[in-house]
């Protein structure tokens, strides 16, 4: 009887640690060519990885599959311990609410203020309006956007929009945070702020995946790098030297 309890503990802990699992995932858009080939990947709670590859390698496609935005043409995706193919609409929504997605093209809602854009995931999750206000104000002031809190995206600079998009992805402290080239348009100081935000979330257990097409970030932050080339994961490099993330 004793070892039964131990097995139970082990089996219950496995799905909790394992956040995301891609199994022989392949992807093609419509009748087009395959743009991802046989991708296999497991991510655990609190993992922080870079997804690196040149433009057109399939980084965005892969993040979209991980973020339950697109279904793969082949292979399976397990997230938070469940196969996505088995989820009904409500369960899919439930899983999506645990994912923070920062789109490469931001996808901010243009008639909503920076504040309301960032507040979206909290409101969708049914947060109380008072808490929503507090959290969003805190996040935007921490990221230095207090003065444009009521501005709409079309009136913001590209860099400001990118930070709003990052804030929106991170605001609900998701279990899985997916950021598509998050620092491509922001200055060095703001980039460090964003990286600090992502690092703090990872420390609290969020699994973070950042895509990038240059070596800059992985050189400065000590996280494993997955290399994606022409739709194929070609290798994994571990951090060469632990560099303290200065801020």
């Amino acid at each position: 009887m004793g070892h039964c309890a131990i097995f139970t503990i082990i089996f219950e802990r496995i799905p909790q640690r394992l956040m995301l699992q891609l199994d022989h995932v392949a992807m093609r858009y419509g009748e087009g060519p395959e743009v991802l080939h046989d991708v296999n990947l497991s991510l655990e709670r609190g993992d922080f990885i870079f997804l690196m590859g040149p433009s057109g390698a399939g980084k965005t496609t892969m993040l979209h599959i991980m973020g339950l935005i697109r279904m793969p043409s082949r292979g399976s995706v397990r997230i938070f311990g469940r196969d996505v193919a088995d989820m009904n609409r409500d369960e899919l929504g439930e899983s999506r609410r645990r994912i923070g997605m920062m789109f490469q093209d931001f996808r901010l809602i243009s008639h909503l203020s920076a504040f309301d854009n960032v507040a979206l995931p909290l409101r969708i999750g049914g947060g109380k309006e008072r808490e929503v206000r507090e959290l969003v104000h805190e996040m935007l002031s921490w990221l230095g956007l207090t003065d444009v809190i009521d501005a709409t995206p079309p009136t913001l600079s590209t860099g400001q929009r990118q930070i709003v998009a990052a804030a929106r992805a991170a605001i609900s402290r998701p279990s899985l945070l997916l950021c598509d080239e998050p620092t491509s348009n922001v200055d060095a100081r703001r980039a460090r702020r964003l990286m600090r935000l992502f690092t703090e979330l990872a420390k609290d257990g969020t699994t973070v995946v950042l895509s990038t097409h240059n070596d800059d970030l992985p050189d400065r932050y000590p996280h494993p790098v997955l290399h994606l080339n022409a739709g194929q994961l070609t290798g994994r490099t571990l951090p060469a030297k632990p560099v303290a993330a200065a801020d």
Binding site: G67, L68, I69, R89, D90, G93, E94, S95, R96, R97, R98, I99, M101, R107, I109, S110, H111, L112, S113, F115, D116, L120, P121, R123, I124, G125, E129, D150
Partner: protein, 293 residues
Amino acid sequence: MAIVRSLDLPLEQTAVSRFLPWIMAGLLYLSLVALAVAAVADGAWELYNQRSKLVTVTLPGAKGNDADVETAAILKILNDSGEVAAAHPVGNDELQELIAPWLGDAKASDREIALPRLIDVTLDPLVAPDLKGLQERLRQVVPEATIGIQAVSHDRAQRQASFFRTSGIAVGLVLLVAALVLVAVITRLSLTTHQETVALLRYMGAQDGYLARQFERFALLSSLRGGLVGFSIAMVTVLVLLYSIQHLELTSTIRLGLRPVDWIMLACVPVVSALLCTATARLTALWGLSHMP
């Protein structure tokens, strides 16, 4: 920051939906005026209905015994007739009063002309009166006997009132149904127009209930705003109409107006229609979302 939270979907900004409050105001205005006309007509109908229970039998002037015998015979016919509840000859003094304005102060009895004799007749409200048939029977005794001239004109006015009542209600209801159909159509079109944003919200995990609430809130706000504007202008219109009708004395016999219960009913229309619009938006949105990938 706005007191009312912005909608996640730009329903107040896009052409398909932004004019909904104004269209609602227009539809509600027309609907309320039509319903007010119906209410006024209903009030008039009721008054006519009470009045038409009273008719007057007029006999030509005569003097002496003949007259009394004739009057008694006419009263007997009236009292024997099933449709008459009561019949009372109008007293001499009352008659004098009635004709005084035309004849001056001189006593009628001093004159050569005999006055016509009038009999007030109350009809049984439960029996449909055959006034022509009754008049025929009276004329067998007194050939010049006439009955209920006012009753005949009441009859026409009452038919008019009934027509306005029915058509007012019909037009009012058709306009309200049109408002609901409009909300449904605009909701469905908006869903298509904003499908990218809808998809984005779904990527963030928004359930259909959350998305439908956007349309619900928009419909509620639009129909309340439109309803308030439409109601205010409609009430001003109705008051002006009633005022001018009364002062032009278009209707001399009865007073047209709205009863307290009519005001209450009219005030309920914008509220009830706002609730129906909200429900329509919700159901349409949920139905549309369930058909979207």
